[in-house]
Amino acid sequence: MKRAFIVTTATVAGLAGVLAFHTQPANLSLTGLTGTTTPGGGTSTTTSTPTTTTSKPRTTTTTKSRTTTTGAGTGGAKSTTTVAPTTTAPTTTIATGTRSAVGELVNYNFGVLSVKVTVNGTKITNVTIASIQDGGNFRSQSIDQASIPILESEAIQAQSGTIQSVSGASYTSAGFQMSLQNALSKLGL
């Protein structure tokens, strides 16, 4: 099964559509899932390295998995994302060049996390989890932004057996979004 992620984001602060697109192997390594909400069950994040193809017992029909970068440029950035400030026109100029910021720690379903965003001018080039704590150990790792929403649904899928998707869950948890917005506002975006 091949999976692609597209993110559209419109923040309350008024940023217009941010669109990221990248493809990813279906086999995110999420071992040790028990489908529970206890912190122990959430430790799947520690082994998640999305750029590798670690096998995981998924019940879907899995095709060959590969990592494909779709963004232009040499940095290997997977996302092509643009941020367009809205017409509450900032009077200050946005700095050019590559900059990063980490948003505040926020609660998400299993613990706390913070989001790191990297921009080049007004263009988001990367969004990652800067830190994540799921009730136990505090660790930093670079997890593809999509992993957290997937984690939420993976836990659910492990609980339920053969399902292919989940309805009713906004895939971006509120906490993730808040931290992302916070990081963007630190960059003046």
Binding site: T11, F21, T61, T87, A146, Q159, V166, S167, S170, T172
Partner: protein, 248 residues
């Protein structure tokens, strides 16, 4: 309000990677275009301009006209419980557009000749074909009382949309009273048009049992509502493949 849309392509025919990338890119472009035209967060979008009365009906694009038509249809079918014109600030078709956009984007994968694909746009799910030779798609519905678990699993042959009081945004407004409050904890609707399913789910979330009875009469659409007291009701044909468990 971040929205992550995922596309899953189920196919063992080994499409060329490039073909798949092109299909995914077209799907992304479709969503981007819809965002550009319909986003109420974008002041320069066509819908934003319409809301400010800067553009007349005769100047609207086909896409917007089509969506407004469908919204009118949904409003009739729900006897006004779904009413994008009842919101402050002007017409807001967002309750329909999300599902409609996801389904159009899925069409790009259909164009590839895919025999199985699923799109999930922030919880609205549309499917194409089958995940495997002898299976149907099975979609879980989040338990509104414990969002790390499911309330049930549904067999989905076209689309499934869910609304609930856990949603952010101002779309769950009772059009008759103006009160922004969901009268049920969760409402799920299955049907061939994900935009309409989305609209029905929105109407159910504020109208509860009253709207459920209307959906019962709409061919090809089935619904499930979960009440605040954890009781639940479904239309006769709602394709549950599990019990409904909202013990949370």
């Amino acid at each position: 309000m971040g929205t992550v849309v995922t596309f899953d392509l189920y196919d063992d025919r080994g499409f060329f990677d490039e073909a798949v990338d092109v299909a995914f890119a077209k799907a992304a472009a479709t969503l981007h275009e819809v965002d550009r035209v319909f986003s109420t967060w974008k002041p320069e979008s066509e819908v934003s301009r319409l809301r400010r009365h800067e553009i007349g009906l005769e100047r609207l694009s086909e896409a917007v006209l089509e969506v407004l038509d469908e919204c009118r249809h949904a409003k009739e079918l729900t006897r006004g419980w779904f009413d994008p014109w009842a919101l402050d600030g002007g017409v807001d078709p967002t309750g329909y557009v999300k599902g409609w956009a996801a389904q159009r984007a899925l069409g790009e994968l259909a164009g590839l000749g895919a025999t199985g694909a699923i799109v999930n746009a922030a919880g609205d799910v549309a499917v194409l074909g089958r995940p495997g030779a002898a299976e149907s798609f099975r979609v879980g519905v989040v338990n509104p009382f414990d969002r790390s678990t499911l309330s049930c699993v549904v067999e989905v042959t076209s689309g499934l949309a869910t609304s609930g009081d856990y949603e952010r945004g101002a779309h769950l407004i009772n059009p008759f009273t103006g009160v922004a409050r969901a009268s049920v904890s969760s409402a799920s609707v299955c049907g061939p048009d994900l935009g309409l399913a989305d609209a029905f789910a929105t109407a159910l979330a504020v109208g509860g049992n009253t709207v459920l009875e209307m959906i019962e009469d709409v061919k090809e659409y089935e619904a499930l509502i979960i009440h605040h007291d954890r009781s639940w009701r479904a239309t006769a044909g709602f394709a549950l493949v599990s019990d409904v468990d909202v013990s949370g």
